[in-house]
Symmetry: C2
Subunit: 339 residues, 2 copies
């Protein structure tokens, strides 16, 4: 006979079989009553529920997933969570997935794309129903493996016409264009670029520089900040920018956090923002609008990004093909006091 007959009340978890015995039904009927009650006689469902209550049964999703080949698990890979840029997106993904009955396997993988491949391989062994990847640059082997596995994939936070599968993001280069164009039109000519070294930030920088280079009399100096971007790194970077020649009259930062630091440092040095120096950020983090001076920045809808990513995945898993596999959420300028 099966185990589970003569054991105590402890430790070993009750199985479907135990519930079935308690209810005087077959385990298959119990399974149906739990997963698809509509096709089971109401009275039977009630009996099952009672037995579940009595036994303290909790389904074993490992077994269920193995049998059904559906894990209701979504793997999410992000480079960092303590830099404020991704947390809203992650929480949106988590919320949306939870509502649709999925769990989130979160992996904080850093910014190195070679380690990403190994990491994703271990995640794939969990047999997730879908995966969210940050960015569009992935090892070729990884891409191949993903395509081969026919696994729904959403790449986020960047833009390409040729995603692995689906994508929701925006163009960092164009966002960079916009920042530079805005300050150029305001009459600024001596620029400072305060930047972190991650791939997508660099794209924005390239975008900004491309615009600046269309202007003959423009000059710019640069300072690099580490990761994660913090107020401190913003202040220190600003110090370095102000020590260079020509002293900038406008500083673009790769994030609002750096911008906030830059503004504080300028004030500490007696430089008025924006009268003597314009400062722009990126991201429209929650403090940007409420800082003094409020921070001019480029906003993106971080929450919606996560929501759409999760929705696209859940839809595709459930057989609903996306009308448009590539979603450009765009961005918009928030003109405020700092520039």
């Amino acid at each position: 006979m099966t185990r589970g007959k003569q054991r105590g009340e402890y430790a070993v978890a009750p199985t479907l079989e135990d519930v079935a015995r308690e209810a005087g039904l077959s385990s298959m009927t119990v399974s149906r009553a739990l997963n698809n009650p509509a096709i089971v006689r109401p009275a039977t469902v009630a009996r099952v529920m009672l037995a579940v209550e009595k036994t303290g049964y909790i389904p074993n999703l490992l077994a269920g997933s193995l049998a059904s080949r559906r894990s209701r698990l979504i793997a999410v890979v992000v480079p960092q969570i303590n830099n404020n840029m991704f947390v809203d997106t992650i929480q949106a993904i988590s919320d949306t997935l939870a509502q649709r009955g999925y769990h989130m396997l979160l992996c904080v993988g850093g910014y190195a794309s070679d380690s990403e491949a190994a990491l994703v391989a271990t995640l794939l062994s969990r047999k997730p129903d879908g995966i969210v990847l940050t960015g569009i640059h992935h090892a070729a082997a990884l891409k191949k493996r993903l395509i081969n596995a026919a696994l729904p994939v959403v790449e986020i936070w960047d833009l390409t016409p040729t995603p692995i599968d689906m994508l929701v993001g925006f163009s960092h280069e164009k966002a960079g264009n916009l920042s530079a164009r805005f300050l150029l039109d305001k009459g600024h000519r001596r620029f400072g670029l305060l930047w972190t070294g991650d791939q997508r930030a660099l794209l924005r920088k390239q975008g900004a520089i491309a615009v600046l280079q269309t202007c003959r009399e423009c000059q710019f100096v640069e300072a690099e900040a580490g990761l994660p971007a913090t107020l401190r790194l913003g202040r220190e970077g600003m110090q370095r920018l102000l020590a260079q020649t020509p002293v900038p009259d406008a500083v673009i930062c790769s994030s609002d956090t750096l911008a906030q630091g830059a503004i504080l440092e300028a004030s500490a040095q007696g430089i008025d923002v924006p009268r003597q120096l314009a400062v722009m950020g990126f991201g429209d983090l929650d403090f940007a609008a409420w800082h003094s001076p409020s921070i001019t920045t480029v906003a993106i809808d971080r929450w919606r990004l996560g929501e759409e990513a999760a929705t696209m995945l859940a839809d595709k898993i459930e057989g609903i093909m996306p009308t448009e596999p590539v979603r450009d959420l765009g961005f918009w300028l928030c003109e405020r006091q700092s520039a």
Copy 2:
């Protein structure tokens, strides 16, 4: 015969069986070569590795976990991640677990303890090897279920001598005591309390009030902020505090983010911090030391908290009993410019 013989190169993932056939070995030997190479002849291991490479094999951890009753999965339940307080802890947990070969199932559950029980039940169906719970107040049914399942549990971010299993945190009440005592000793008598409504923040408030009430001539007014705590809510809360009587000469905030907002609002109203008004925060978030004025606050080691939680869990899972199941990480005052 088993499936997997006559199929194309696509979609269906290769199994241990496929690798075994390729290598001319039994699947059991392949399994051993992969999980415990030490007990397999080196030459055999090499043959296996070659076959793995050739087939593109990725283990199926659902099946493996089911068979071995070990999932190498840790469930983590936190109330929020977009309030900056928990992200370092979560990233520390994720990092530490990854190093030890575990994955993190992250669930953002909000602050309601009744929904927590349901949520944890679904998490338990994944058969995690351990679970991290934020706080110490959980539904009785949940506690019972956890104890019954004999699952290693770490409660974090709070303190009690009687945890479900293990705990790493600190006393919020005493942290509240410390803040109030500090300002009292500085000579302040008219207090403002700017506070969010979550359980642990309220404990800190109680702690602060308990100290204030030891002082006859002390008065205090309160303002409540919503969740998540943001700069905006800090400013708005400060506005309300300043409109009350008596106008406080010292404001304690339930987080550094609120404190930052409070300071900005005070400055905007022409009130000098700290000369006319002292402001204290909590948490020592990364900007606290670098803000102007720098923020006086109570620091806790958020990263270490996550690290220890993950380590205690992994240790216990692997049979290493914790020397001390309850770890009080404490807190310390960071006296800076704002108070």
